[in-house]
Amino acid sequence: MEGTRARTILLVDDEPNLVDVLQRYLVEDGFAVLRASDGPSAVELTEREQPDLIVLDLGLPGLSGTDVLRRVRAKRDVPIIILTARSEEVDRVVGLELGADDYVAKPFSPREVVARIRTVLRRSERAATTPPAQRPLRKVGRIALDPLGHEVTVEGKPVMLTPTQFKLLDVLAEHVGQTLTREQLIERVSVDGDVYDRTLDRHVANLRSRIEADPARPKYVVTVFGIGYKMVDPT
């Protein structure tokens, strides 16, 4: 039966012992596991075996974790959870342009990693199985946002957003015409305090570059000087 098929998780880390431990937990939980210890084999395995989710260490030798992330994402929209020992990388990788689905900081609890895997899989599977026609859409001008499917279209064309950009747009679109303060936005968008005052502007700039015809003269997400941001319907 399709519903009982074991989900396959690709574990990528150059420390084999960490992979051993995670594999033990995942197998116990009914997952199938693939392993890779460097970037090129991670990319190759992803293409050949089509795992349901990838757990990716960023500190890989050779091809870096961020390169792997980019290459894998260029081919397929597989969910990716990052493992990292460098806290300064998290914002760039999860919140900004690279668009990982979640991250776990090293040292980690293996049980926590398994819980995150389940959450991310549930989110992506729910999005895939709810018929698009039944999903509530938020529409602002020529932008349509599907909160369940985590999909955005501008003028009917799909736009790829990172989870943080998506959340930001979702919150702004929920309050069209209403100014949201920086503090309100940070509170709504931040997961585990990963969005700070100084990074909010970067998230907004990145969001604009995806949805605005001219990011330098935004028509949808406008700055309210000294206060915050507001979404407007320009049509």
């Binding site: 960490l18 995670l22 116990e28 020992a85 460098r86 090293k106 293996p110 049980r111």
Partner: protein
């Protein structure tokens, strides 16, 4: 050796060694792995590596006599 390593790189290495120790100890606690002498040795070595990195990052005299 007077030259200091990049503190962020040291922190990164420390977290990687701690990751090995923590993951294994949790697996022992959760009954996922049996704490064989080999695995305990692995945890011990990871913690010794952390100790070594801390020792290099805070040479004698600094950590011992530093202001509290």
């Amino acid at each position: 050796m007077s030259e200091r390593a990049d503190p962020r790189a040291v922190l990164h290495q420390i977290r990687n060694h701690l990751a090995v120790a923590v993951a294994n100890l949790e697996a022992f606690r959760d009954g996922m792995l049996v704490p064989t002498p080999e695995r305990l040795e692995l945890v011990l070595r990871a913690l010794e590596d952390v100790d070594g990195l801390l020792h290099d990052a805070f040479p004698r005299g600094e950590s011992e006599t530093g202001a509290r």
